[in-house]
Every structure is written in structure tokens, then in C-alpha cells.
Amino acid sequence: MNHGAPGVIRWNDARLHETTRASRTPNVLWRHPAWICLGASLGLTTLGVVSINLTAGTNAVGVGSYALKQLIFLPVGLLAASIAAAPHYKWVGRMTPALVAATIAMLLLVLVPLVPEWIVKPRNGARRWISLGVADFQPSEIAKIVYVLILARYLRFRKNYRRLRGLAPPLALTFVPMALIVIEPDLGTALLFIPTFFAVLVAAGAKLRHMALLVLAAAMLAPAMYPVLRPHQRDRVHAMWNQIRGDRRNADSINYQGFQAITLIGAGGVVGQGADKSRAIIDFNNLPEDHNDMIFAVIVNRFGLVGAIATISLYLAWIAGAMLVAGGCKDPFGRLVVVGLAAILGTQAFINIAMTVGLAPITGMTLPFVSYGGSSLVVAYAMVGLVWNVAMRRPAYLARKSFEFGDDD
């Protein structure tokens, strides 16, 4: 075999080296920080099942039906995680355009009025769900992951986003799914895309001053967007403002849910109420969606401030675990996918908690891993699977570290 001139590594030499290395060390690593994400996810799911069970009411015997279903969804979620982790993430990257096309098709499908109701069943005036017979799923949930994949794929080898003009294409990528989801309407999910966009761009090395400029522009545009909001959305903004000020005028009407959530949270105290008392308080206070969007209020009522800090810490641990995975990865696509997933999951968790504690208007948004709901849980575990996917792939030996630019701003 001709190795050429000494000191010069030829293409086929590098390939040979890789092949040799691959034959001596396994491609799949088992010691990696994604364990933190999985541990945090399981911890949150456990907390979720316990809390969902508390919402079964004082007359429930044994494990409540929602909690039981959630337990059944857990293996499905783990299966989804395994499926997401199995193929190499680069292969997933290559499949991304096809996934984008399929997702946009599904997002369009739910919006087409002529689609029969056995396929798309409107609920409360919203068209978000595609019926699978045994269960319904929301294309917007898939869209969250696919958005991260396509954004990461777009940015992986580029540098143009370090110019202000270069931010336009990724912004366009963001507004397409957002617009389709806003029309459903599902403003809450749509809003997740913005922080994710910023997080991925920040991680990819976009200039911070450009980011700040965008935030400033958004802040200035926000009041102008107010008239575009639908009346019920405006009412919720008003209600939240009243709630923050302690004005109870809407406590029995539009802000009933918000006030009930705060009541349950405050009633929890520092260490929470006993199981029976908490179950009774939750049962008789009739908090709407207590097993679902408002599950954080149930957690705090049962486990108090300690439970709240534990929950927030588990999310921070999840995010930190994902950041460690991203930090350990050299591949630009892998890095951005993990950062994007961490951002979207963290943002969803934080917005959900913020609306439950009365710091954000109430929107229909689940608390990942914790809220009752099959598709939410499966998608969240699929994210875990993708983080695992990146974490357990050994980086290319000679790969150049990506997104290393000389200046931060």
C-alpha cells in the first residue's frame, strides 16, 4: 500500500485511519451526559404520574385512569426515544428535507376545511389534531422537532448568519411553521419557535449584537401586534395583568383558571400538603386542566416549594445535560440539534410554569414529561432519544470543532 510522502496525510490515509480506529473502538458510547437528560426525564415523568394520580379525585380508588394511561404511555415514549436514537443523527439530518415536507403537509392538512372530521377533528374551534383511530396527535408537536432539525441542517456549514442580512433565511424557516400553527390556532406552541431560533443562533455563533437588535425590534413591534390578537387572547393578557396586580375581578370568569392555579400553589406552602388533604384540595377547587396544562399547580400543592424547586431543577438538569452533550459533540448538525431541543423543551417548561404561577397569559401548553397526554410524552421522549443519538455517537477523530469564531459579538 502506497502511503505517499511522509508527513502528508492523504485522503485515503485518513479514511484508513478512521477504519482502523473504528475497528479498535466501538462507535457507540455508553458513558455520556445524555444519561442526565434521561434521568431527569424519568424523574419528571414519575412526578407527573404521582401528580396526575392526585387529580383523580377523593373518590378514586387505587391508581387513577389518567395516571394509569400515563404509565402506559411511558414505555411508548421510551420506545420513541429508542427509535429516535437508533439511526445515526447524520442520517436523520439527511432525511430532514423529507421530514419537513411531510410536516408541512400535515400542518396544511389540519387547516384544510374540506378534510373530513374523522381525519381532522376540530375542538373548541381549533384544528390541531389528526385522528389516528386509537389516538390523536398534533402535527405541531412533530413540527417542533423537525424545525430544530431543519434549522440545524441549514446553519451547520454556513457563516452568513453572522451578518444581519444572513439572519433572514433562518427567520423565514422559523416563520413558516409558526404561521401555520398560529392559524390552527395554537399561539402557545407557535411562540416556542422564537426562543429556539435565538438559542440555536446564539449557539451557532451569531453576533450577539444582532440578536439584541432582533430582540429590541421584537420588543418594539410587540405592542403593534396587540391589535392583531384575537379578543380572547387580549382578554387573557388583560386577565394576567389584573392577576399580577391582585385584582380579583376576573377570578370567577376569564381568569378563573389562573386564580385557581395560584390558590393551589400558595396552599401548598413550603413542604406541601399531605397526600389526602392535597387530593381533597385539588378535587374540590376544580382547577380546569389540573392533570394536564396546570399540573405544576398540583405538584406544588402536594410537594410545596420544595417540589417546585425540584421540578425546575430537573428541567435545568435536563438542559444542562443536553448542553454537555452539545459541548462534547464536534459535529455542527449534532451540536445545533441538541441545543435546539434543549431550548424548545426548556422554553416550553418555563412558559408552562410561568403561566401557572401567573407570570404569563394562559395558553394551551403542556409541561413536558409531566402533563398527562400521550403525544406530548412521546414527543418529549423522542427529543431525549435525539439527544442520546448525538451523545452516543463518537465524534469523528479529526473533525474540526464547529462554530468557533474569533469574536463573540
Partner: protein, 748 residues
């Protein structure tokens, strides 16, 4: 630069930045939860636990109203309310049942039938159910003891009431809907009633058609409910008035000769205290809620005595004036939904009102006023020139205890029972002449007339306007050379233009002036006192002021010109004989005479004995003048020259007061009055329904050898002569006092 040195990789620095961002967010959320769970914990836990408690009200009982001897005049008693489903009341039930029946009979074919075919089937089934409803109403009326007309009126009233409520709610819903739609579509959108006219709660629930029935009737309705639709027999409370209809025994041998009958007679007396006790209603008005809130200073949510729909509310009389005292507070039974623990706050029953009124005295006096016995009917010997013989007269009687100032009886001749409030409302509230809704003893003021003369004497001497030894000549008229104005009552054609001076052979002293009721003597005193001092005298006697407990709604009387202009000397002259710009009630009159008997000490009259000492003050009257006045009063009824001594019947003279063993002093009077007009079409003159003078008699009575212990004042509207018409009634009141032992030295 330092950061770059710490973390050489830019990507890692950015990851760190993101992580810090999330950490800050997490800390912010934890801080918010910390605030809620630490600072706001107590309040929010209370709020959350409030919902763990299921509670129900425990009904209280309204306080009783008792007479001075402890007899229960008004009380709550357990009873039953008979309610009927609203759809049955409206008749809609028959249509619904007919539709059900038609659907049943059509079976599976129903879905294939056209609307017209369905309607035909329903129409065919309808008569059966209409007949069922007709049977229900016939049975209902028979069981309840109502006429069909009365029952239909009650049904119509409920339908009208519910419809009013529904219209009000629907209009509110319509406006809210309109606002919501307009906001959503950002343009004005008109909402129609059809958008919001869903049945309200009252249109789906039973309504009470018959309240407060006893066990027997409730049992009959229970049997009826087994075969008739929509009937509900609910536990309830009824306000009972055990003495609303009573039998009183009266001695007719003490009546004027031509009305006299031998021995005693039992008379059915209806509603003897209804005008005092008042009545309640089962409908709460906004005004009730507002008044209670003002009185208690409590918001409805904090007030255990707050009104709930269907509560009993005082509507008139003491029931209304003392609503706060009588009402009581509900109790509450709370049950913890999680533990089952029960927490109970006992209800506070309403406080009793103990009256100073003696039911026996009240009923005996009222029995004497029964028109069938003749005292309140115009007799030919009354000499009434304005009201035809045989017409019923309205009278009021007040009896006051001299020692305590308490009213022992306040009687009005036109009474009604609690039941008659609904069955005979037309007479009670619609008769403009006899007007039973007005209580003549304290509710309507009249000019005092001559009964005020002894009081004017006491006041004039007390004020230094008249010397007790000074005699006054009665030439028949006050002003020399003017015999057409300020004349004495005796200086008339029919008395041969006599004067009192001619009768007594010179100027009159105070005793003669009072006994003979000389106008000239008191014109003179009135002129000497002046209008202001006379007004002060009336005010001192309580006119224009407030009575004591239980008489909050009594007429205060009036002093001064109606047009508000200052009184003039002419007014003072007339006020000296109880005419002119002044009016008072029999209660004022009896109280004023009691003041005289007390030696010039005024006690504010009351009818509720709440244990507090009476409010009293000295009037500053001259004691010698008081004695002279009392002597004049005594002579006035005991000497043949007195105006209160006798009346003349076709059979001869008869003494007005003939109660053996009782010391009597008194005065009669006649008060001018405006006529009562009836309604007339616009443009035509209103007919005079009744006109003439009101007749007064006021007496002080006591044991033969003791002080005067009781004051009795009687007014007979348009009765004319005080002595002939009011006198015999006052005599019967004194008889009743004696019969009941009031002159035996121990007040019952």
C-alpha cells in the same frame, strides 16, 4: 477577554450563556413560587380550604310579638308550602306530555313523520293532558279552600313575576352577548333576544302557590300529589297571629239608651292589633338588602342575617319598623368534604318584642266600635248634618297609662285580619272614606279642637301670659263690634245667642271656662300667648316630634302653616281653641292629658317595653293652673253645665260617663276638617264623599278616691259633636279599663 480565557471555545461560551439564561429564568420562577408559598400561603390556603367545606343554612325563627301580658300576637310556626312546577302553572306541561305521548304512540314511525303529521298526533293527545291540568286546578282550589278566581289570580301573578324576571335576565344576557360579539368582530353586532332566551331557573323550578298551610291541608295535598302532576309539599314557616280573630264579651247595658241591650254579648273582633303589629311578605326587595346593610354596616357576604330569596321580611307596622330586632340570624352547618367533620354555628332567633298594649283592652274597645252595636254609626240624635244616619263612622281610640306613659290600647275602628290583606285588599287599600289602612289612633293627625283648652290654660299661666285669678268676660265674640268672627260656640242662633257670661252671671274663671268650653276665654289666652309660645307648647307635648319605641312610623302631627309662611296673631287666637295650623293624633291627645294628670311632666309615649326607663321632661307648667284645669275637666263631665256631662236622646238626657266607682275628668271637642273627595273624570268636579267636623273626647280616669291613672282620647272622623259621638266611645273605653281591673290599684 477574561471570559474567553476561562472558556477558550466560543461554542462552549455560548452554551454557558444559554445555560445561565435558563438558570436565571428558573430562579425567577422559583422566586415567584416562593412568594406564593411563603408570603401568600396563609391566605391562599384559607381560600383553597374554603372550597373543602360544604355548608347549608340553618333557618332561624323570627322573633315573637307579645302583648303586655305575654300573649303571642305574632309568631313563627312550622307549616307547609304548596308549590307547583312552573310548566304546570303555565300549562306548558300539557303540551310537553302530549308530545311525549304522541312520540310513544308513533314508536319508530316518529322519525319518518312530517312536522304536520307530528303536530296532528300531538293535538290529538293534548285534550287528555289539558283535562288532567284542569282536574289539578279544581282539586287544588277545593283542597286549599280557594275560589278558582283566587287561584287563577295567584297563577297569573307568578307567571307575570317570572316573565318580568326572565325579561330582565334575557335583556342583560342580550347586551352582554352583543358586547362580546361586537368585540370579537370589531364592529357593532346586534344580538336578539332569540339568541339568549334560554329558560331561566325560575322557569324550571316549582313556585309556591299556597303558603303556610297546616298539617291537615298539607296531608290532603300529599294525597293529591300522588295522582296529580307537578305538586310539591315543602317544609316552611308561617307567621301566625293567634289572636287575629277573637271573641270579646261586651256589656251592652252601658251603651247609650237607644243602643242599650240587657246583659253581655260576645262580639267577634277581627284584626285587633293588625294595624300595630303589621305584616310580612315573602319577597325580598333590593331596598330591604340596602336598608339592612346600612343598619348593620355589614356587607351581605359577612352578614349571617342577610336576606335570601323567599325570606320573610317585615312589610308594615312593627314587623317592618323592628325588622332588625325580629329577624334573627341564620345558623350554618359546615361539613368538611375531605374529613366529613361537621362544624355548626347555631342560628340566633330574632328577639321578641314585648308591647305595652293590652290585647284584652284593645279587643274590648274594638268590640264596642263594631258598627252593628251602633256607636260608630251615625244616629239621628247625633245631630250630624253632613253624614246621613246609618252611615258607618271611622274612629280611633288611644289609652295611655298616666304613671308610665305607655300606650295600653291603640284602637282603630276599621280593622282587617292578616288573611283579609289578600282576600279583601280592595276594601283595605281602596276605600277612600273608611280607609282601613290608616290607623286612627296614631296614623292620622286631626285638628285638636276644644280638647286642647286645659292645656292652653296650663301653658299660658306657666308662661306668665295669664294670671290664674283673672276672669274673662264672654260677650259671645272676641272683638268688640264684630260678632261675625271669633265667636263663642254657644253664641249662635240655635242657642238664642247666649253667652257664657250670661250663663254664669259675669266673667268666667278658668274652671268655668273649661267646663263650659268657652271659646272667648281661650281666644284671649291664645292671643296673649302668641303663636310661637303656643307652637312651643305643642312641641313640648310631642307634636311634630318623635314618639317612643314602637311608634317610629306614627304620624308626628303638624304645627305651622302649610304654605310655610310665619304664623300670625290670628293663628294664635285660633290655636287657643285647638283650631288653626296645628294637628295631632289621639295618641298625642291622651299623652297630653296624661301629662296634665302627672302635674306637667311629659313622658314620651311608647308601645314597646324594652326595659329602658321612659323618656320624660318637665313642661314648666304652673301647678295651680294644672289643678284649675283638672277641676275644670272634672266639672266638664260631672256637672250638668259641662260640655262632657250628657247628651240628649229622644228619650231625654243621658250622662256620657257612667262608670261606677271611677273618677272621671274630661273634655269634648270638635275639630274642623276638609272634605274627602272622590274620583271624577277630568274636567268635572270631584264629588264630596264625606264632610263635616271630627268629634273628640279626651278623659282622665282613675279610681274614685285616687289619682287619675289613665288617659283616654277618642276621635270620630266626621262624627260632628264630640260629646254625643266620641263621648260614649270614651265611656266604653273607661268601662273596659274598669272591667279589666285597671282601677283596682295594680296595673295588669
Amino acid at each position: 477577554m477574561k471570559t474567553q480565557r476561562l472558556i477558550p471555545s466560543m461554542f462552549h461560551r455560548r452554551l454557558t450563556l444559554l445555560l445561565i439564561f435558563f438558570l436565571i429564568g428558573g430562579a425567577g420562577l422559583a422566586a415567584r413560587v416562593g412568594r406564593l408559598t411563603i408570603i401568600d400561603h396563609e391566605a391562599l390556603l384559607r381560600e383553597a380550604e374554603r372550597r373543602l367545606e360544604s355548608s347549608r343554612w340553618i333557618e332561624t325563627t323570627r322573633g315573637r310579638i307579645l302583648d303586655r301580658r305575654g300573649r303571642v300576637l305574632a309568631t313563627d310556626r312550622p307549616a307547609f308550602d304548596i308549590a307547583v312546577d312552573y310548566r304546570v302553572i303555565t300549562g306548558e306541561w300539557a303540551v310537553i306530555e302530549a308530545a311525549r305521548s304522541a312520540r310513544r304512540s308513533a314508536g319508530d314511525r316518529w322519525a319518518e313523520l312530517s312536522p304536520a303529521q307530528r303536530d296532528a298526533l300531538i293535538d290529538a293527545a293534548l285534550p287528555e293532558f289539558t283535562a288532567e291540568l284542569e282536574g289539578l286546578w279544581a282539586d287544588f282550589a277545593a283542597t286549599a279552600g280557594l275560589t278558582r278566581v283566587e287561584l287563577e289570580e295567584r297563577r297569573s301573578a307568578i307567571i307575570a313575576d317570572v316573565q318580568r324576571t326572565a325579561n330582565s335576565i334575557w335583556e342583560r344576557r342580550r347586551l352582554a352577548r352583543q358586547e362580546e360579539l361586537s368585540r370579537q368582530r370589531e364592529t357593532l353586532v346586534e344580538a336578539t333576544l332569540a339568541d339568549v332566551a334560554r329558560p331561566i331557573r325560575e322557569q324550571r323550578t316549582p313556585h309556591v302557590l299556597l303558603r303556610g298551610v297546616d298539617d291537615r291541608i298539607a296531608f290532603a295535598f300529599r294525597k293529591l300529589a300522588e295522582r296529580r302532576p307537578g305538586l310539591h309539599i315543602n317544609d316552611g314557616v308561617a307567621r301566625a297571629h293567634p289572636f287575629d280573630v277573637v271573641e270579646a264579651v261586651i256589656d251592652l247595658s252601658t251603651f247609650p239608651a237607644n243602643l242599650r241591650q240587657p246583659g253581655e254579648r260576645s262580639v267577634t273582633v277581627r284584626g285587633a292589633v293588625a294595624g300595630i303589629v303589621g305584616w310580612t311578605r315573602d319577597k325580598v326587595f333590593e331596598e330591604d338588602i340596602k336598608l339592612r346593610q346600612e343598619a348593620t354596616g355589614l356587607a351581605p357576604a359577612e352578614d349571617p342575617g342577610r336576606y335570601l330569596p323567599g325570606d320573610t321580611v317585615g312589610s308594615f307596622g312593627l314587623e317592618k319598623q323592628h325588622e332588625l330586632t325580629l329577624r334573627g340570624e341564620r345558623g350554618r352547618e359546615g361539613r368538611r368534604l375531605d374529613t366529613g367533620a361537621i362544624h355548626r354555628v347555631e342560628p340566633k332567633p330574632g328577639a321578641d318584642l314585648r308591647l305595652t298594649i293590652d290585647l284584652d283592652l284593645q279587643t274590648q274597645i274594638l268590640a264596642a266600635l263594631t258598627p252593628e252595636l251602633g256607636l260608630t254609626v251615625v244616629q239621628d240624635w247625633h245631630g250630624n248634618f253632613t253624614v246621613p244616619v246609618g252611615e258607618t263612622l271611622a274612629a280611633g281610640v288611644a289609652v295611655v297609662d298616666v304613671r308610665t306613659g305607655e300606650a295600653l290600647a291603640l284602637v282603630t275602628s276599621q280593622t282587617f285580619t292578616q288573611e283579609e290583606l289578600t282576600t279583601d285588599a280592595g276594601r283595605i287599600f281602596g276605600d277612600p272614606v273608611l280607609a282601613p289602612a290608616f290607623h286612627r289612633a296614631f296614623d292620622r293627625p286631626y285638628e285638636p279642637g276644644s280638647i286642647v283648652k286645659p292645656l292652653v290654660l296650663a301653658a299660658a299661666v306657666g308662661a306668665g301670659a295669664h294670671s290664674l285669678g283673672a276672669r274673662i268676660d264672654c260677650p259671645g265674640h272676641l272683638l268688640p263690634g264684630r260678632n261675625d268672627i271669633y265667636r263663642c260656640w254657644i253664641y249662635r242662633d240655635r242657642f238664642g245667642f247666649l253667652t257664657h257670661s250670661q250663663q254664669v252671671g259675669g266673667p268666667l274663671d278658668a274652671v268655668e271656662a273649661i267646663a263650659r268650653s268657652c271659646n272667648i276665654y281661650f281666644y284671649t289666652l291664645g292671643r296673649a300667648l302668641g303663636a310661637d309660645r303656643l307652637a312651643a307648647m305643642y312641641r313640648d307635648l310631642g307634636v311634630g316630634g318623635k314618639f317612643g319605641a314602637g311608634l317610629e312610623a306614627a304620624a308626628p302631627g303638624f304645627i305651622g302653616r302649610l304654605d310655610g309662611t310665619p304664623m300670625e296673631p290670628t293663628d294664635a287666637i285660633f290655636m287657643g281653641i285647638g283650631q288653626g295650623p296645628v294637628s295631632w293624633t289621639p295618641l298625642h291627645a291622651a299623652s297630653a292629658y296624661a301629662d296634665l294628670a302627672r302635674g306637667g311632666r311629659h313622658i314620651v309615649p311608647r308601645i314597646i317595653d324594652d326595659g329602658s326607663p321612659p323618656i320624660q321632661r318637665d313642661l314648666g307648667w304652673n301647678k295651680a293652673a294644672i289643678n284649675e284645669a283638672l277641676a275644670g275637666l272634672k266639672k266638664g263631665v260631672n256637672d250638668t253645665v259641662g260640655t262632657g256631662h250628657h247628651y240628649t236622646l229622644p228619650t231625654g238626657q243621658q250622662r256620657i260617663f257612667d262608670v261606677p266607682g271611677v273618677r272621671i275628668a274630661g273634655k269634648t271637642g270638635t275639630a274642623q276638617s276638609g272634605p274627602i273627595f272622590g274620583d271624577a273624570p277630568e274636567g268635572s268636579a270631584r264629588p264630596v264623599l264625606r264632610s263635616g267636623d271630627h268629634g273628640w273626647t279626651v278623659v282622665l280616669a282613675g279610681p274614685e278616691n285616687g289619682p287619675y291613672t289613665h288617659a283616654v282620647a277618642v276621635v270620630v272622623e266626621y262624627g260632628g259633636s264630640g260629646g254625643r259621638v266620641a263621648g260614649p266611645i270614651a265611656n266604653q273605653a273607661v268601662h273596659a279599663l274598669k272591667r279589666l281591673g285597671y282601677f283596682d290599684g295594680v296595673s295588669p
